[in-house]
């Protein structure tokens, strides 16, 4: 049996260290070692996007990354974007526009949408749909998810204009 690796990662701004076999998938390290149960295990075959987190500035399906690969990385999960007391703009707009029904896909949706808006702060509807194509939702039919993301973009841009 190969040795366990000493893994050091920064998750949501906090340094974390633990021992793990390199074959452990990042999603399980996040959920079971660090108790970050926001990212979900959906299909576990890199299709559904429910496990999406941000690793070194990239949207990543954490079911398709070994924890060994993530060693040294900076990781952001949905828990790092907002909290129940201080929701992220995307969390607010998903609530307001009914961007979720059962909610299972929502952490992955919002974490991916966050990165999308960082790269493209003013997307068209088509760009939102293309940029969110790696996240599946089986409830909403996507209309309200797209609305929620466009609303968040408008709100974030409005806030920026107000600040200038």
């Amino acid at each position: 049996m190969p040795d366990k690796m000493h893994i050091k990662v920064t998750v949501n701004g906090q340094d974390e260290e633990f021992l793990a076999e390199p074959r452990e998938l990042l999603i399980y390290a996040l959920r079971e070692r660090l108790n970050l149960t926001g990212p979900h295990v959906g299909c576990e075959t890199s299709h559904c996007g429910a496990c999406t987190v941000i690793v070194n500035g990239k949207s990543v399906k954490s079911c398709t990354m070994f924890v060994g690969q993530a060693n040294g990385a900076e990781i952001t999960t949905i828990e790092g974007l907002g909290s129940p007391d201080a929701l992220h703009v995307l969390q607010e707009t998903f609530r307001e526009h009914h961007g979720l029904q059962c909610g299972f896909c929502t952490p992955g949706m919002i974490t991916r949408a966050h990165k999308l808006l960082e790269e493209n702060p003013n997307p068209t509807e088509e760009e939102v749909r293309f940029g969110m194509a790696g996240n599946l939702c089986r409830c909403t039919g996507y209309q309200n998810i797209v609305k929620s993301i466009l609303a968040a973009a408008a709100q974030m841009n409005g806030a920026q204009e107000a600040a200038e």
Partner: protein, 284 residues
């Protein structure tokens, strides 16, 4: 899904990678983005006792454009390809093809090197690189050698790369004219039911030369010289396009799977190739 255990290595230079490959032979595999290999390992269709992660190896990234000569480091991701404005100007077909691969998350991780080296008939870059007449640079214990994309693929997952070699770079000469990559897939993230890469040059109102390759319609990518020749010295009218499609369909060998029976795949291949030729010609 838990893969079989493995020893994990993250060397920082290519010499370190080759030393590990020499030591462990076919018990070792290199991994780039991992988005083909990791699913195979999770399904236990691949068991890799020694996994060599290339993410820290110096000199495997980057896109360089020197006139019409283009070099793409093996660890360049599909997202890097899409974002590179210089490449989009010099060879826009790469962005067009990359945007049709998988989904955004996978494109952040999936690399050009992994896509061409894996030898999966479903991957899009091998056919594209055959169309562009790209060269693959392989580095091994005996140094560096170059293999043409058109000579690289032997069978599904079988390529000219030996177990001790690493594919480090893809290079090609950008051609004037028009090019297009068209792909039919069942859903986002799926491999092609059929896909076609076309590059052609125009002289006045006729096509001077054309290169045509197809994806996922055989156990290797199919570059069809006969299809290209059928377009040369024609005005790329309906009869020339039909001749090219007929020639390409004679060179493919699709098999029935959950993307459809052979007859359907041949039909889709004809539709997709026709679209790609028309699109490339309109851009030429």
């Amino acid at each position: 899904m838990i893969p079989a255990p493995f020893d994990y290595y993250r060397p920082t230079d290519i010499a370190g990678v080759i030393a590990l490959l020499e030591e462990h032979g076919d018990d070792a595999r290199v991994m780039a983005g991992g988005h083909s290999l990791i699913p195979m390992m999770k399904l236990r269709m691949a068991e890799i006792p020694h996994l060599i992660d290339l993410q820290d190896v110096a000199g495997l990234g980057g896109i360089t454009i020197d006139g019409s000569e283009i070099r793409i480091g093996a660890m360049t991701t599909q997202a890097d390809l899409i974002d590179h404005e210089g490449l989009a100007a010099a060879a826009p077909i790469l962005r067009e093809a990359a945007l049709q691969i998988a989904d955004p998350q996978v494109r952040y991780m999936g690399t050009v090197g992994g896509n061409v080296a894996n030898g999966d008939p479903g991957n899009d870059m091998p056919g594209l690189m055959q169309c562009l007449d790209a060269q693959f640079t392989l580095v091994g214990p005996d140094g560096e050698r170059t293999v043409a994309a058109r000579d690289f693929y032997e069978a599904a997952y079988m390529t000219a790369r030996t177990d001790e070699e690493v594919l480090t770079c893809v290079s090609f000469t950008a051609q004037p004219g028009g090019a297009a990559y068209e792909k039919q897939k069942r859903k986002i993230g799926d491999y092609a039911t059929a896909a076609a890469a076309v590059q052609l040059t125009r002289e006045g109102s006729t096509c001077a030369a054309a290169s045509i390759a197809m994806t996922n319609l055989s156990d290797v990518p199919v570059w069809s010289p006969a299809a290209g020749a059928a377009l040369a010295d024609t005005p790329v009218d309906d009869s020339a396009i039909k001749a090219a499609v007929d020639a390409a369909l004679a060179d493919i060998d699709p098999t029935e799977d959950n993307r459809g029976p052979v007859k359907f795949k041949r039909h889709v291949a004809g539709v997709i190739l026709t679209r790609a030729i028309k699109s490339a010609w309109a851009r030429a």
